[in-house]
Symmetry: C2
Subunit: 465 residues, 2 copies
């Protein structure tokens, strides 16, 4: 295993993090301190001056609703949040920038220079499912240290969870057939890497994105594009060049000119041991059947068929009865299949009466009209099961946890006193998601629009909603 970096390399003078599970490589993680909306800094400034910055505070991440018609959400990005919190530091250049722009004053700059999050974070573990009102993450510490993390935590969770939710629907639709993530070209180059990661959590098997393979150890795949065929004097020349180099187990792209002719040429060149053919256009249902028949007639019965053209979960489902062996998904995966963000918010739900240590917490909540109210108080959550062991409700409460739910609690400790305590390999999140989805009522994986598959029930002081 090599040290060193790649895509996003080490910041000068800061050590790269050790490798984080899942077979990925050491990649330097840069400071995340400016992935922040300006008002977080001005609030810290005003609170420092007012003597309220040190009031103990509880912020919670939750969503008021799932995207229209979706039946469950998928928590993803938790591991990236932990990295971001650990690397949230203000260095000299950033402080100079804030000073020159006069965004904060000297007292605040001194406070920022010493910033390290020293509080506690609990949350739904990565891969878990969630519902409206689920307290997906809870951040507790002083007001100032917690309020600064709002934007970076929401950026990561809102993006990664949106992709994982789409991936989960696609993987449910694909059943046992593997899904290949190939959307890098359809989204921001680093969002793409996070999307590959989230897709893996949601059930995808592989990715075409090399940076995702490097960082997270996700298996990578890919052989050739139409350009490779067009580069050569004939399709046969191109296939021969590819098979010579990559072996007969490779996947040949057969829809540059005429599919039937390409399949014939492919088997002539590679023999009946050809690994796979890929179809990237046309009526995939029809073409897959024709290609399967042709391959079988040519004796290439073990040659697989991969399809890759503008697929989403509905197209995947519609190919369930077609002779298709794997799906490549791009645009619809990285754009969340119509829902590219998760509408999670980060809200103050309780804060101390004063800045004294051990001052009692009081629940707080926005009260104005307009649909943006929230439920005050520090919350727990548990998933109640029915007599058959199937989930039947998401229970969210602010008081003591009822005994029968004590061992069904959903939040786990992620950061304790500023130290990350819950690193895990990416495969753990992937397996957790598969198990969590399996534990839901069967209608969870219906693709049609519907209500959240579990109702959210509030217990105890859950007023204001």
């Amino acid at each position: 295993m090599n040290t060193a970096d790649l895509g996003l390399p080490e910041e000068e003078g800061r050590e790269a993090l050790p490798q984080k599970g899942g077979g990925g490589r050491r990649v330097g993680v840069p400071s995340t301190a400016l992935f922040t909306d300006q008002y977080e800094l001005t609030m810290v400034r005003a609170a420092l001056a007012a003597g309220t910055a040190e009031r103990r505070s509880v912020f919670e991440v939750f969503t008021r609703r799932l995207p229209n018609g979706r039946r469950y959400g998928v928590v993803a990005g938790t591991g990236r949040v932990l990295d971001a919190v650990e690397n949230f530091r203000f260095d000299g250049a950033v402080l100079d920038f804030l000073r020159e722009r006069e965004i904060v004053d000297e007292e605040t700059l001194r406070w920022l220079a010493g910033y390290r999050f020293s509080g506690d974070i609990w949350g739904y573990p990565e891969g878990e499912v969630y519902f409206p009102g689920s307290p997906i993450m809870r951040v507790e510490g002083t007001f100032a240290e917690c309020v600064l993390l709002e934007t970076v935590i929401l950026s990561i969770l809102n993006h990664d969870s949106a992709i994982a939710a789409a991936a989960s629907r696609m993987s449910a639709a694909a059943g046992d057939r593997p899904l290949i993530e190939m959307g890098a070209r359809r989204t921001h180059e680093l969002a793409a890497v996070a999307a590959s990661r989230a897709a893996y959590v949601g059930g995808f098997a592989t990715t075409s994105d090399l940076a995702a393979g490097f960082r997270y150890g996700i298996p990578t795949v890919g052989t050739s594009a139409h350009a490779f065929t067009l580069l050569h004097d004939s399709e046969r020349d191109a296939f021969q060049a590819q098979v010579n180099t990559l072996g007969r187990g490779t996947t040949l792209l057969v829809d540059t000119y005429d599919v039937a002719e390409a399949v014939r040429t492919a088997v002539e060149v590679a023999g009946t041991g050809l690994g796979a053919v890929r179809i990237d256009s046309g009526d995939l249902l029809l073409v897959a059947h024709r290609v399967r028949q042709q391959l079988d007639e040519l004796g290439a019965r073990d040659t697989k068929i991969v399809v890759t053209s503008d697929l989403d979960e509905y197209a995947i489902a519609s190919l369930a009865a077609a002779p298709v062996d794997a799906y490549g998904v791009g645009t619809q995966l990285v754009t969340g299949s119509g829902h590219p963000t998760s509408s999670m918010v980060y809200k103050l739900v309780a804060r101390a009466e004063s800045a004294r240590p051990n001052a009692p917490l009081v629940p707080v909540a926005k009260r104005s009209t307009g649909g943006k109210t929230s439920v005050g108080g520090r919350k727990w959550a548990a998933r109640r099961l029915d007599a058959y062991g199937v989930a039947e409700a998401e229970v969210v409460g602010t008081g003591p946890v009822p005994g029968e739910l004590a061992d069904r609690q959903l939040l786990v400790e992620l950061v304790k006193g500023g130290e990350v305590v819950a690193r895990e390999p990416l495969d753990a999140a992937r397996e957790r998601h598969a198990a969590a989805r399996e534990g839901l009522p069967m209608s969870a994986t219906q693709l049609s629009r519907g209500e959240p598959v579990l109702p959210t029930e509030y217990l105890h002081g859950a007023s204001g909603s």
Copy 2:
């Protein structure tokens, strides 16, 4: 001006790029070599073995259609593409990764180790508008050196152009009122920075995202959130704390509890010189009118009203007659207002007959059915004007440029022999966009769905479409 870095710092052993126009700061740009789909590397490997890797090739970026009902596209990300091409290098850790995964062989690894793009890139300058078939970017060099850039170029242009197109519609709807970009929390943390940049090109005035201010010199804004009010014992305490620190010119958020009461308190605390109030929920049209009336009655006639709740271009347009002074836009901006990606593709359109230097180019194009055909041949583009100087057609051709279009050509030289030759401040792209949009027929800025506002006409050997 400080040196040093921030969000994305320097790669060890590589110098940070000099500052790139527009008032931004030096930020180390990491290697972009793994923002690549695996098949690009396996194609290089197979082409090297086949002796075809050095065939001179022309790739073009274009889109077959605009998003449903949109009337024009906006090119954004060009400056980021130039950075990405310059930083596309394979270092030791990346080469080790490719070797261990057996993605390429030793010959290819040696070739990659020496990789530097040495070809030419022409393209629509940043901020320019485009239409279906517009050759937005043209990359020319050997097959191997060009094919490697496919994913990173598409990632950047597809993302940034989608955001800029949404921003342009919103800025047309907002007229002279300024737009604030505040979507960082709704998308990947680095996609957010690129989104701020693209929004600025599309006509936004400011951003809440500090990293975008740091990197690109975009003006940043922001004062406080509901959490700040909830932190304090009363709304009055919170307003007083904010005004004490940020001055009476600040913007107070007035919808935590009761808007009318908050407006009264705000003016009591800050006086009639209060800078602005922000409304983040409710029926904005109704609330803005009431708040304006109340402010006027209180004598705060110069206090501005900022609205910030789930706005898109339609909501902005519906507030045109309301007493609103600025709009803050989040989710709908960073998700492209329904179209988070631009469906641009990167296609081989011509390649040399052989790897000999000066071998003649032959046009190539995918020919199979399925709606994914393209037009072969290296293209020019020009925008033809009518007698009144208004654009009337996007003309795309493969032969000589007709004399009357010679000075209306759209592609400019961006990279020459591997050297970037077209750096510019971000403000240049922003001004170019405003001028380009101004030059379109008036129906360009209609928000309703329609056809592209200019037809695309093909001239000369434009077969195969």
